[in-house]
């Protein structure tokens, strides 16, 4: 099932950037046709890293720790700085240690004007449907139900994520009709 939903926060991802500049976008999910088509109108470089295919992200005994795992997955050219980072609902499938490791690895690739978009849940005890997301227009995204359930659901409310993402400032939050919390973050100066 494909559904189109409006977003009050997606437009805010673009307001800080000069239309003439080249946008660097990190998409932490599957590459979707609408997102590629949307950004085709911009001078940009999109990086697609589908961390959902790596779930569950845990540190196993004798194996690489979580920071090393994320360093291997988020291996970008030196000097890369993302203007926009789209996490969608990834954080709800990472435990606290994984979120901390992700933050540690991601922060060096962000700058003061970077904007991060992600979802939390209104009630962590009620698991929403697993979905993929794509951007169709600046104020609209496309939602598809996932065929298989993703492993490692944890579910975080806004307060819990604020505690875990100590390197970020929560700029705006909107409660959506599907009981997800849509959030816009930037890095603490």
């Amino acid at each position: 099932m494909i559904e189109t939903q409006s977003s009050q926060l997606l437009p805010a991802l673009f307001t800080h950037f000069d239309p003439q500049q080249r946008l660097y976008v990190l998409h932490l999910g599957p590459a979707m046709p609408e997102t590629v088509d949307f950004f085709s109108g911009y001078r940009c470089k999109l990086f697609f890293v589908d961390l959902f295919t790596e779930l569950p992200l845990v540190a196993e005994e004798g194996g690489p720790d979580l920071v090393q795992q994320f360093q291997g997955l988020l291996d970008f050219p030196e000097g890369t700085q993302f203007d926009i980072c789209l996490c969608w609902d990834l954080l709800n499938f990472l435990d606290a240690l994984a979120i901390s490791a992700l933050q540690e690895v991601l922060l060096p690739f962000l700058h003061r004007q970077s904007r991060i978009h992600c979802f939390a849940v209104h009630n962590p005890r009620v698991r929403p449907a697993d979905r993929t997301y794509a951007i169709r227009q600046q104020n609209e995204f496309v939602v598809r139900e996932r065929v298989e359930e993703l492993p490692g659901y944890t579910g975080y409310g806004q307060g819990q994520l604020k505690d875990l993402l100590s390197g970020f400032k929560f700029e705006r939050t909107v409660l959506r009709s599907d009981k997800r919390l849509e959030m816009l973050l930037n890095i603490k100066s």
């Binding site: 109108g41 001078r43 470089k45 999109l46 990086f47």
Partner: protein
């Protein structure tokens, strides 16, 4: 055409379009033409062409002078540079896409806003065109 049973290791270059249904390891350079990787095509190579269409598997960097299209059966791991890239529903892609469409949507919106802010055109006397002065 490179047929399904053919394996090529090395550089593929030429002055015509190419359809790959077999395996290619190395590089494919058909700068002014079209390269298609069919559903049975397995390419581990960098591709440079005017138009690149992928229905099979490609591991490598892709440069399309005009466009790159990854169909629903396509599976690409690598970096793409092209003015326009199209991904069909079902396509799998991992890597980066570097796009510069020329006149961007953002520029078009910016220009339209600037023109409407200027107001209607006027003659030398300051009278809007289409209106009589006095």
């Amino acid at each position: 055409m490179i047929g399904p049973s053919i394996v090529i290791k090395g550089t593929v270059s030429g002055d015509e379009d190419l359809l790959v249904q077999g395996r290619v390891e190395g590089s494919i350079d058909l700068g002014a033409h079209e390269v298609s990787v069919g559903q049975s095509g397995r390419v581990t190579a960098d591709i440079n062409a005017n138009v690149v269409k992928i229905d099979g598997e490609v591991t490598g960097d892709i440069s399309g002078n005009e466009k790159v299209v990854i169909s629903k059966s396509g599976n690409v791991r690598g970096n793409i540079v092209a003015p326009r890239v199209t991904l069909e529903d079902g396509a799998i892609f991992k890597g980066s896409i570097d796009m510069d469409p020329g006149e961007t949507v953002a520029n078009k919106v910016s220009l339209a806003s600037a023109r409407s802010a200027e107001g209607p055109a006027e003659d030398l006397a300051g009278t809007p065109l289409g209106q009589k002065s006095g």
